[in-house]
């Protein structure tokens, strides 16, 4: 077995990618949908495809495609709204499974993760067997399938997981890495976009193996940083570690509007709910943020952001909303808007190292409001979003 010759100086990195995650969960929750083209995404009238079952993909539907186009391609498709909360719930179970194999789990998104299995051989067997066990455990706990790629670094593991989708298991052991890269088309490398590929084809680089046939100086001179990055890929110098948890740099939310609008009153309503949501996530995850940003995408897909920095970091929905509104008021709409979002960045963990204030009034007032918002969070958590609503300024 080639996967056995894994010497101790190579890392064992696996990439786990859930198969058509959202669509699979929908089918799981409603077995009648099995074998049908299920398309998840968008609101009622708009938006893009978030996920498509393999049956739907056969019609040419893929994620990030506007719903209307998916409807045209696959008129018999079953279109379902996104139920993020449910997907996150399943995602948590998947991540727990992974953690039983190694503490070094880096969640990339709701349906994707890296796991560093180096040194787990004695516990679970060789990399292929371990990966098979991971697949079995995820299937047992969630009834869902995933595809796993295993190799000596993150990017190779990621390429490998994509090779036998769905329900795949691909291992590229150290001894095979060189031959594998030799025959790997450059467009398969994550990070080489369409532009990069065009440039490479122009100079006769079609496979990763072709890269090393060029001199380093020449590559760097021609492509700059991209050149030295390419060489790193070709020589398989990816040492980037599997990082278990990275603190979020920002917390944000955005929505494609039900209908394009140039009414600030309508946008205000969106910002209200969004600020509420962002505040709630800050409080839940224990962060305060100093910078509030609004994002506006116009009907012509041109996108703008506007930011403002607060004097004190906040986790209060109301402060976020007021700041977001200031930014919106100062923004000249010009044309209709199709998407709006709000985010908070410049985060610090709440509770620790907080600067105390001189004038009691101000901090007591803040603390009072924070208590109010936390109480609201609890109610929402228990009884759902419609249980409590903010009054006047959000509904004006």
């Amino acid at each position: 077995m080639p996967s056995n010759n894994w010497s101790s100086d190579h890392r064992v990195i696996a990439h786990i990618d859930m198969d058509a995650f959202y669509a699979s969960i929908e089918i799981l929750d409603n077995p009648e949908l099995a074998g049908k083209p299920v398309i998840v995404g968008g609101g009622e009238r708009r938006g893009v495809v978030s996920a498509a079952s393999y049956e739907a993909r056969a019609f040419g539907v893929h994620s990030a495609m506007p719903i209307f186009r998916a409807k045209r391609l696959c008129p018999g498709g079953i279109f379902l709204p996104v139920r993020m909360r449910r997907y996150r719930e399943v995602s948590r179970i998947v991540m727990h499974c992974l953690q039983e194999f190694s503490p070094l789990v880096e969640q990339v998104s709701v349906d994707e993760a890296f796991i560093d299995l180096t040194g787990t051989g004695k516990l679970f067997g060789d990399p292929r067997r371990t990966a098979a066990k991971i697949k079995a455990r995820i299937r047992e706990r969630t009834s869902l399938t995933c595809s796993i790629g295993v190799s000596i670094c993150k990017y190779l593991a990621k390429i490998a997981s994509d090779m036998e989708k769905p329900d795949g298991l691909t291992v590229i052991p150290p001894a095979e890495v060189h031959d594998f890269l030799e025959r790997l088309p450059v467009e398969k490398v994550p990070g080489i976009g369409v532009k990069g590929m065009e440039q490479l084809t122009r100079i006769g680089i079609h496979y990763v193996g072709d890269i090393e046939r060029h001199r380093e100086e020449w590559l760097v001179e021609r492509f700059g940083k991209f050149g030295s990055w390419l060489l790193g890929i070709a020589r398989c110098e990816d040492r980037s570690p599997v990082v278990p948890y990275t603190e979020p740099k920002s917390i944000s939310t955005e929505q494609t509007l039900e209908e394009d609008t140039d009414s600030k009153t309508v946008l205000k309503r969106y910002l209200g709910t969004q600020s509420e949501r962002v505040g709630r996530r800050l409080r839940k995850q224990g962060f305060r943020g100093k910078t509030v940003t609004i994002k506006i995408k116009h009907a012509d897909f041109k996108q703008y952001t506007r930011s403002a920095t607060l004097e004190h970091p906040t986790q209060m929905s109301d402060v976020i909303f007021k700041e977001a509104m200031k930014l919106l008021r100062a923004y000249q709409l010009g044309s209709k808007v199709r998407l709006i979002g709000v985010g908070v960045s410049n985060l610090e963990s709440a509770g620790s190292q907080s600067q105390m204030t001189l004038f009691e009034g101000q901090s007591q007032e803040d603390e009072k409001w924070e208590r109010v918002e936390r109480a609201v969070d609890e109610i929402v958590e228990r009884f759902g979003h419609d249980a409590v609503r903010r009054g006047p300024h959000h509904e004006e």
Partner: protein, 368 residues
């Protein structure tokens, strides 16, 4: 208009006045400087509508007139020139600037569009020593808030009466207070909040002056010097009642060499958290330990001699706040008068200056 002025002086004055000019503005006329030549001489003026500055410039006016020209461009041009004399000619709305073999033709705007520089209607006026004002400002301006949601904190509070002046600033985390005894003539007890930009301009323009005449209007303040004047709107109050946050009865006294504390703080703060800049003061018998421990970065420790005679305790601060305070003091040693790790601390110079009484209040950081 046709004038000739010395390049050196023009360059210096253009540089100074362009700091009044707002960097972003929706009114293009505000990005210009108004050049006026008349019987009274040659004058430069700029305004951001809140603060206006006029500054005289020596030179020869062969023909009077006025024009508004882009301030930053002119400042940049004169800075780059070499030579002795610059001549400026206005035809229509164009300014021709010549110096040696260099010639620039700059599109200007009609002087009519330039906002009227307000003339101060003063209720009260008094004279002050420029150096004293500068020192008072330097000791307070750092603690001014930039939180626009609390505009009353975005300036320095001046409390005046016939025997002296106090300046107070606070951003809600720290407070700076200075008092100076100085005869202000027949000034009635009053207080005003002065925007920091006006005070920075004052520093720039009072250099080398003998005295400054300060005039207070209904909601404005102006400073007149021999060749220039600054007019500024005042900020609306009320300034918070700061006296109640000045701690009384802080009985834990730490005395430490100012320079040493400043150097050590700078060193350990290199590893402090980028957002909170937290450093921890550990007070022990006759020593002060400075500790920084930031999870992702590392740790730094330093110990300095100090005079302290109480139960050991730890208190956290924003290193920048500590450094700001130390920077504004002139004494060899500073005294921290502390209470509990969650209460305001008072910092004062040990060797007090003869003419200025300085008090700083700093709120701790809750230690993680």
């Amino acid at each position: 208009m046709k004038i000739r002025v010395a390049l050196g002086e023009l360059s210096k004055k253009m540089h100074a006045i362009s700091s009044v000019v707002p960097s972003k503005t929706t009114m293009p006329i505000l990005s210009t400087v108004l050049i006026t030549a008349d019987g009274e001489g040659i004058e430069l003026s700029a305004t951001d509508l809140d603060i206006s500055v006029t500054s005289k410039i020596t030179g020869t006016a062969d023909a009077g007139g006025k024009i508004a020209v882009p301030a930053k461009k002119i400042a940049e041009i004169v800075k780059s020139l070499t030579g002795d004399e610059v001549s400026m000619d206005v035809t229509g709305e164009k300014l021709t600037l010549t110096c040696g073999k260099s010639r620039f033709v700059i599109n200007g705007r009609s002087a009519e569009d330039f906002p009227k520089i307000p003339k101060q209607e003063s209720k009260t006026s008094f004279k002050m020593d420029p150096e004293l004002i500068q020192r008072l400002v330097q000791k307070t301006i750092y603690a001014v808030s930039n939180d626009l949601t609390r505009p009353q904190l975005c300036g320095v509070l001046w409390e005046l009466d016939k025997d002296g002046i106090s300046m107070i600033s606070t951003d809600g985390h720290r407070l700076a207070k200075v008092e100076a005894k100085t005869k202000l003539g027949d000034v009635q007890k009053t207080s005003v909040i002065v925007p920091p930009k006006a005070l920075s301009m004052l520093k720039l323009y009072s250099e080398g002056e003998e005295e400054i005449k300060v005039s207070l209007g209904e909601n404005s303040i102006s400073f007149s010097m021999s060749e220039s004047s600054i007019y500024s709107r005042l900020l609306e109050g009320p300034f918070p009642n700061y006296t109640k946050v000045i701690p009384e009865g802080n009985d834990k006294e730490l005395i430490v060499d100012r320079q040493r504390l400043s150097d050590a703080t700078k060193r350990v703060a290199i590893l402090s958290d980028a957002l909170t800049h937290q450093i921890v003061f550990s007070l022990e018998k006759d020593k002060l330990k400075l500790n920084v421990s930031t999870q992702e970065i590392g740790e730094a420790h330093e110990e300095i001699e100090a005079s302290f005679d109480g139960e050991p305790f730890d208190i956290g601060y924003n290193a920048n706040y500590v450094l700001d305070i130390l920077r504004t003091m002139e004494s060899e040693n500073v005294a921290f008068r502390l209470d509990r790790p969650d209460n305001a601390g008072m910092v004062e110079p040990v060797e007090t200056a003869e003419d200025i009484n300085q008090t700083c209040i700093i709120m701790p950081l809750r230690i993680s």
